[in-house]
């Protein structure tokens, strides 16, 4: 694939920066959550979405605790475990456990009920909960999870999600692509966007990065639009980043 880097000087023209400490925060005792966008009791009219990316929750659930059975509809819901084991049950009969390196997808469509609990009694579970508006309403509900090889994200971007069932990672009902990379300090990589009109939201999982000309720390988020590619550079050893390319219009 041709890598056309249109950000040769790495200066980003159109972006929004969400520093980690500016996120909404909810502490329910058993659950501590940081919300990049308005969610539940956190309401901020300037933080509603980035294109079709509507929810980015950074959740920590206490030992043995979790979200009881509850519904969803018409949303593509992606869970990315960061630490610990998350036990999933749903109304389609799935009972599974996901852990670091796994990706879980639920296409809620016409309706799904599920629960997510920390399987362990001696360890927190930390995971990202990401909601994407679907490009098609009322689809048949669907669940999937996959296990990725963590070695395939060392100093490169590993695709974890796409719109295509035959492509790498899980697939969703939206023209979105997600990648995760874990980089040595000083290592750079370019990401060419796959679809014209899409934007990209970079979320730092671990360490520090420079994206374009903007420095990011752990759990900072940066949304960029009207660009064809971005350049990322790891500013710390073992830095990890999640890149979410999404349509900017619903």
């Amino acid at each position: 694939m041709e890598n056309k880097d249109t950000t040769a000087n790495h200066k980003i023209a159109n972006y929004i920066l969400h520093k980690a400490d500016s996120r909404g925060h909810a502490n329910h005792g058993w659950l501590e959550s940081y919300h990049t966008f308005s969610f539940a009791n956190y309401q901020n009219k300037d933080r509603m979405n980035f294109g079709v990316l509507r929810v980015l929750n950074d959740d920590r659930v206490n030992q043995g605790m979790g979200f009881g059975k509850h519904p969803h509809d018409n949303m593509e819901i992606i869970s990315i475990p960061l630490e610990g084991d998350l036990e999933h049950q749903d109304s389609m009969g799935n009972t599974t456990v996901i852990k670091e390196g796994d990706i879980q997808i639920m296409s809620a469509g016409t309706g799904i009920f599920h629960s997510e609990k920390n399987k362990n009694q001696n360890q927190l579970v930390k995971f990202l909960q990401i909601w994407i508006y679907p490009n098609k309403k009322n689809v048949t509900p669907r669940y999937d999870q996959i296990t990725l090889d963590l070695k395939d994200r060392h100093n490169k971007l590993q695709q974890i999600l796409s719109p295509n069932p035959e492509d790498e990672g899980v697939w969703i009902h939206q023209d979105a692509w997600f990648h995760i990379g874990r980089f040595d300090k000083g290592f750079s990589n370019s990401y060419p966007l796959k679809k014209s009109g899409n934007g990209i939201y970079a979320f730092v999982l671990k360490g520090d990065f420079t994206v374009g000309d903007i420095h990011l720390n752990e759990r900072d988020g940066l949304g960029i639009w009207d660009t064809e590619s971005i350049k990322i550079t790891a500013d710390s050893e073992g830095a990890e980043i999640l890149l979410m390319e999404v349509p900017m219009e619903l």
Binding site: F39, Q43, M48, R54, H70, D73, G111, W131
Partner: protein, 104 residues
């Protein structure tokens, strides 16, 4: 404070029950849920609703009919597609719908 009347229409009875319970947990909101479009139209004529929330399973043609009907009866009605099926986005959707135009 004025009570905000909200009509929710969806085809999934379990989700409908939960969404109505969530709406009614707010003292300033009154939720009415309908699975049937014709009953929804009837209750719409009897109550001064501010918002119609459209839940899952409504066919495109039926949705267009509902939107047309409600708008004809009340041109200022806010008709919102409810996404997510639970508490996560419900408050945002309702608050955004009732917010003054300059705040949207």
């Amino acid at each position: 404070m004025e009570i905000i009347n909200i009509l929710y229409i969806g085809r999934n009875a379990q989700i409908l029950d939960i969404v109505i319970r969530l709406i009614n947990s707010n003292d300033n909101w009154n939720g009415v849920g309908m699975l049937c479009d014709e009953k929804a139209k009837q209750v719409f004529m009897q109550t001064n609703f501010s918002i119609v929330l459209l839940g899952p399973g409504i066919e495109q043609e039926r949705e267009s009919e509902l939107r047309s009907y409600f708008t004809k009866v009340n041109p200022t009605i806010k008709i919102v597609q409810h996404y997510g099926g639970g508490s996560g986005l419900l408050q945002s959707e309702i608050l955004s719908a009732i917010a003054p135009a300059e705040n949207r």
